[in-house]
Symmetry: C2
């Protein structure tokens, strides 16, 4: 591993993602240099053991640019300008075509390979960092036509050091992929959430788990997401036009009482949910839900999961639905189809109030 990724690694931008990468490298025994425009971030990240501030004369084998989306292009170009002639540069921004354009004419562009780890947190800053942030997460590696094989190998080695799963995509493919799997869903979730502002409280009293799920991502920072989504304008606008056309079809079907048309649109959506990769990248597994009423105080979830564990049934997913009027939560346990009856019987024998 250290053959493919010799030190030191320089991390530009000691926020959540940059500091987490630095911690993963240090854990693997790779020397890390840190730089940040914020002296406080630099001090905090160094204090966490993520590396030492970069000094004049330091030359990195790999520079990882982890700055906000709007500053990626200039920061990547600056890294190519100032680094050694064998230094490879990558970035971890969530769009890939725009930063590449910013460095496409650079004489050292062959030493740049963009990348994008699919991990984050609603928290930010170095204090939220962890060497395990990327464990098992997809991490896109986006080589452009002029990238050198050495550069690609070195970035792949970083992904391996971080415990992530490499996904090879061209920059343009990557941007189309995240428009579909992240940016357009985020925008639509935000539009749905927007309809809830100003609604009467007695109307919102009917809010169930469904709309909470749909709108959860819309709680993200508007400034950050306007940079992310705005930085991928071409792919997002193209897909958003398709969604707008289908929304017009849905509106016409609803307004005209065209049940068959409405059902066909909903069936198209159902097919889409089945296209999402399942556990461990395999096909989606058919699951059944088991609902359990759980008193809302510490220890009850532990008791529940002890009883679930004793039943031998593996849990695929869990949700907690706090109901609005009572000191009880409804826990939804998703289990493989065919295992629900066994789990229900096991939990009921322990006194839990359940239903499917």
């Amino acid at each position: 591993m250290s053959d493919l990724l010799p030190g030191p690694v320089e991390v530009v931008g000691a926020g959540l993602v940059g500091t987490s990468i630095a911690l993963a490298c240090q854990r693997a025994g790779i020397d890390v240099l840190l730089s940040d425009t914020s002296a406080e971030h630099l001090r905090t990240a160094s204090g966490l053991g993520a590396g030492r501030p970069k000094a004049p004369g330091d030359v990195a084998a790999l520079v990882v640019v982890a700055v906000p989306p709007d500053h990626l292009g200039e920061a990547i170009a600056a890294a190519l300008d100032t680094a050694g002639e064998d230094t490879v540069v990558t970035d971890v921004g969530s769009v890939k075509a725009a930063p590449l354009e910013a460095v496409a004419g650079h004489p050292a562009a062959s030493r740049y390979v963009g990348s994008h780890p699919m991990a984050g947190s609603e928290r930010s800053g170095p204090l939220a960092a962890s060497a395990d942030l990327f464990t098992g997460r997809p991490w896109a590696i986006c080589r452009h036509d002029g990238a050198s094989a050495t550069a690609v190998r070195r970035v792949a080695a970083l992904v391996e050091v971080c415990g992530a799963v490499p996904v090879m995509l061209t920059p343009a493919e990557h941007d189309k992929a995240v428009a579909r799997t992240s940016h357009v869903p985020h925008l639509l979730a935000s539009l749905v959430a927007g309809t809830l502002t100003g609604a009467a409280p007695e109307h919102l009293a009917l809010t169930g788990q469904g709309v909470r799920d749909v709108t959860r991502v819309a709680a993200g920072d508007p400034t950050l997401y306007s940079q992310i989504i705005g930085g991928n304008s071409k792919a997002v606008a193209g897909l958003l036009r398709e969604v707008r056309d289908r929304l017009d079809l849905a509106l016409a079907a609803v307004a005209d009482g065209d049940r068959a048309g409405l059902e066909s649109l909903l069936a198209h959506g159902l097919a889409g949910t089945r296209a999402i990769p399942g556990k461990h990248g395999g096909p989606v597994q058919a699951v059944s839900a088991v609902h359990v009423a759980v008193p809302d105080h510490p220890g009850e979830l532990a008791r529940l999961f002890a009883d679930v564990g004793a039943s031998g049934v593996n849990i695929e997913d869990v949700r907690i639905d706090h109901d609005p009027g009572r000191p009880v939560g409804l826990v939804e346990l998703d289990v493989a189809e065919g295992r629900a009856e066994h789990l229900l019987a096991a939990l009921e024998s322990k006194g839990w109030v359940t239903h499917r």
Copy 2:
């Protein structure tokens, strides 16, 4: 309770919701009469102890119509036609203006009060029924102008017997409320999910938790939801036009590079997420997420929640994010802000790999 809700209660339609209501009534000592066009459903529900098949000459104090959306109007009218002169009729359909229109001219319309329990399951049929299906759930009671006070009281008594939380709304208000909190979110989730059909597998490899959350409800039965959404066409179409107009604004902002406009739309969505009622109907509580890597086999979740329980920190929500390439799941625990550090320290002391 039995003064306000004398027996027998007749349940028309022994599916999931009807049979669950019947079981709740029987548990409260109220005699239940069952009817269903399916002899098999009737036999199953009776066998579960939900009541006895209605016989000629039986007269109910309350008829609960629990048939599919497209048959509600005729079934309510039939119940008013054939029931006793003191019999109150309600239904549990998910739209309320359309069935009311169907019986508005009926001479006994004063004995009808529509209602809507906010509970269900992806399962259907009497075998999935439970007397606890409605515990703690909102249940809208939708009196129309001509409804008698006796009728309203009797339906409210049913809601209480079922352990649900009554929410008083006019039929028109109810339909606007569910368009906003359920039908339009469902449609938009379905449109987002539809964009995933036919996407390249290597693009879908970047799928994260966000798009899974956004599209989860779109896995619902298209036939049922086309009836539900199509039956609320006026309220849905009105709100859907508002969403379409905002989508056009979003599209223009993205295509024109108008970052401020995009950020403003996203900020509007963020405000909407904060309008959703929190735990127990109170204000939304600020939570922090703690992520824990959990080996993917039975018993590990039990061990985790035992350690969580021992820490004394209450869990507000749980999600499991199965990552695509590894035999490990990431469990996200949401806890009150200010409790995350304590939980992290407690879990790390037990050997768990965590990050915020």
